[in-house]
Symmetry: D2
Subunit: 135 residues, 4 copies
């Protein structure tokens, strides 16, 4: 049984590394975001399309535990789980592992909500369905 | 009395905004990092110089509460406090406020440590002094 | 007499440096873009505002001569000139100099045009005026 | 017969898009750099490893023709050719095409050289061999 609902493979790109010779801390948020958006696309939710219609999925809190740094040439994958945590909030649990040794790289919890054109919390039906129990 | 030990002024740059028309979530970590490094420089600690000598200040945990998004043209400032939280760990408390209305934008706690060439926790004397009580 | 119509001051941020310990090549385009947008703002043209109205100023060619790399801690400025080079095209000439020794860092020519909602070349009146002879 | 010595597949990530809703101009240099480094790795040249030994492959000129913008969700590939253009300079010719329709996105020529620890032009033997006629 798989521990993650969604996984995505990556490879470090040299421009993502900083003067310490490792991937810069902020770049992990790029990896996490891209994984969330690819996951959403895989279940029929288009982040960019929603944004064009002024429905914005937004992050309200990110907790990132940096376990081990990625370096030039490293391959890795991001695993993703999620759950509804309130009427209008959902949480993504995202972990990064280096390949091929599965060394834990980062552990994150990213809490989000969805806002309508007036900036009010609003879950589109497609997200309601995604978060429904039993899914 | 000032609430922050260090402050730095910024202005949003358009390339930092994403397709939602606001500053991308990951970019706030850039703002926070730059503020920490400028603070360190102001007390005589050169992040890049330490890295060259293989002493690496590293983030081990970041908690970011996104309160309100910055947009194209926005000016803002980052306030910074810090404290030693264990023998070898220190925490930065960093808040972002939009100008001129002081609207809270982001509230963060960034926990770090310092590693020597072999990747072992190691606080250089200059950081010991910075973290000493009474400072 | 000043050689540039517009100038903007910057300071290198450590996250902009890559594993060679210098500012990554792509980041200079960020500096150049931010300078162009600040220049445009200074003459009353809001890049983001135009984009919202689906009028997009776009780069069609960039030529960048890298003279000397910027490093952590470097301060520098970008000088900007521009001219209309055809009915619908304009060119920005942008040079970067390190401070305080004025060492040439980068010399660039960035050619652009403006597109309307249907992607057709279209110069808004405010840009026509900017590019008018004698300006 | 293949027109390119090396090809690499990519997919646009949403954080690479700016407030115009398309990939930011500077990001194409990231794509081009990553392709060059992957190509070099494929022929046994490790960019990061060289940098650690203070041998730095550097870009001295970049010419980028922007033909058509990439957007959220687009897949594309970068084709690469190169040739020696002087005793100590080499040029990469890199073209980007959208998938699956092969629409031309960007055409670039990136001129580089290699510097030793003292910043003097110096081609390591492995690069000499790469650039040798008949290769």
């Amino acid at each position: 049984m798989d521990l993650y609902k969604f996984k995505l493979d990556f490879k470090v790109r040299d421009y993502e590394c900083d003067l310490q010779g490792v991937v810069n801390n902020s770049v992990y948020q790029n990896y996490l975001e891209h994984t969330r958006h690819e996951f959403l696309k895989s279940v029929g939710i288009d982040f960019a399309g929603l944004a064009e219609r002024k429905i914005n999925l937004v992050v309200i809190r990110a907790e990132l535990d940096y376990k081990f740094p990625l370096k030039s040439g490293d391959e890795f994958w991001v695993g993703l789980n999620f759950e509804r945590i309130s009427e209008i909030r959902f949480a993504f649990f995202q972990d990064i592992f280096r390949k091929p040794d599965s060394k834990p790289v980062l552990k994150a919890k990213v809490t989000g909500t969805s806002l309508n054109e007036r900036g009010r919390p609003f879950l589109p039906k497609i997200i309601e369905e995604l978060l429904a129990p039993g899914d």
